[in-house]
Subunit: 203 residues, 2 copies
DNA sequence: CACATAAACGGAGGTGCCTCCGTTTATTTA
DNA sequence: TAAATAAACGGAGGCACCTCCGTTTATGTG
């Protein structure tokens, strides 16, 4: 067995378990996409068969990729977090620092909504997969931190607050039960908070 | 409406929600009994339809009494705890204090085994029903405490230990994974512990 | 390009879940 | 004891889960 070949294979095995076949990758992505919509619309108990059907694959394919419902939930949730963090970078690039922060916080509200929706299933995951929570909450608060620091540095918002203060202020969003007007209330909370942050800013 | 009647009904409503009809009570008891066996034998995922069948009732009856699997699990678990505590009293009555303690600890091993078996489902319950854990662990440690105090008072075991020391010593039982010889190991642990407790006793 | 083959697909089928409602029965009242 | 009725029963039916395996397909090789 040639050395080069051996090394390449060994490296693959070590970290990236599988270079998925093209069609498999397509189907997998499709499934996650559809599942995200389904969970958002119908809650975590959305029918897996329905998800498979809407993704245009057989139920067997779904189960091969995600052996349990929780696996699928986890992937969807991580994707949500990924999207949220990515949005932070994008908004920062395309808007003034304070606007970026505000838009991002609005999106954060959506994220919380998802999180609430998935909560029951996540609770199970959290007992099993204890890195999930620390991973994601670290990433999210990191994203927020950089938006706030940028906004403060640019003088668009006051400089005497820090990310954890703002996170704390957003805490109110968690606590509100699922009233139908929850989204609007949260939107107003974000605006209010932004007013406070802008008040007395340098620029 | 006569006063007496009113009072009787009010009292009932206040604490004992339902004086179950005789047949209903019988069926309910039967179900719990069978479920306990089934969970012990097949784990928490035992088929509910099978349980209903073995209890000689329709599946509808099972669901009327226990709207979710977790309800049933909880009742079975509480019954387990009840049995364990009751055994403590009985053993104390029928054996010398040190023997009672030893026999009870052997039975405690069985209880832990059940608890492990039900663990997955219990975890869900514990997030919902937060009194469950405090209720039961209080009752169990109370039972142990009285056995130990009685044994110490009678001079059958040394007096310089207390219940929480022993509980701590038994902690090892929790940690062992589900190896096939877990039961024997735990049995030996109990014996060993008893030897230690008897050593240097007064009587 | 044709072939080999490992990888992925998909859905039939068997099982369990749970609701719904017509039937049966324990208990109360006269 | 007989009739009235509230309570409980039970299982058919419909839906979702998940496994298993015969079929299809992407990809590497000559």
């Amino acid at each position: 067995m040639p050395d080069q070949e051996m090394t390449a294979k060994a490296k693959r095995d070590a970290q990236a378990p599988k270079p998925l076949r093209a069609d498999a990758q397509r189907n997998r992505d499709r499934l996650v996409e559809v599942a995200a919509q389904a969970f958002a619309a119908d809650g975590v108990d959305a029918s897996l068969e329905e998800i498979a059907k809407r993704a245009g694959v057989g139920i067997g394919t779904l189960y091969r990729h995600f052996p349990t419902r929780e696996h699928l939930v986890e992937v969807v949730y991580r994707r949500e977090v990924e999207g949220l963090c990515h949005a932070a970078e994008e908004l920062a690039r395309e808007h003034a620092a304070d606007v970026a922060l505000e838009l991002w916080m609005q999106r954060f509200v959506d994220y919380i909504a998802t999180k609430r929706g998935l909560a029951t299933s996540l609770r199970l995951l959290l007992t099993t997969n204890s890195t999930l929570f620390s991973d994601t909450s670290g990433r999210v608060s990191g994203a927020m931190r950089s938006l706030i620091e940028a906004a403060a540095a640019s003088g668009k918002i006051r400089a005497d607050v820090d990310a954890s203060d703002v996170m704390h202020a957003l805490g109110g969003i968690y606590s509100a039960p699922n009233t139908p007007d929850w989204r609007e209330r949260s939107g107003r909370l974000v605006k209010l908070l932004m007013d406070g942050l802008r008040f007395g800013a340098r620029g």
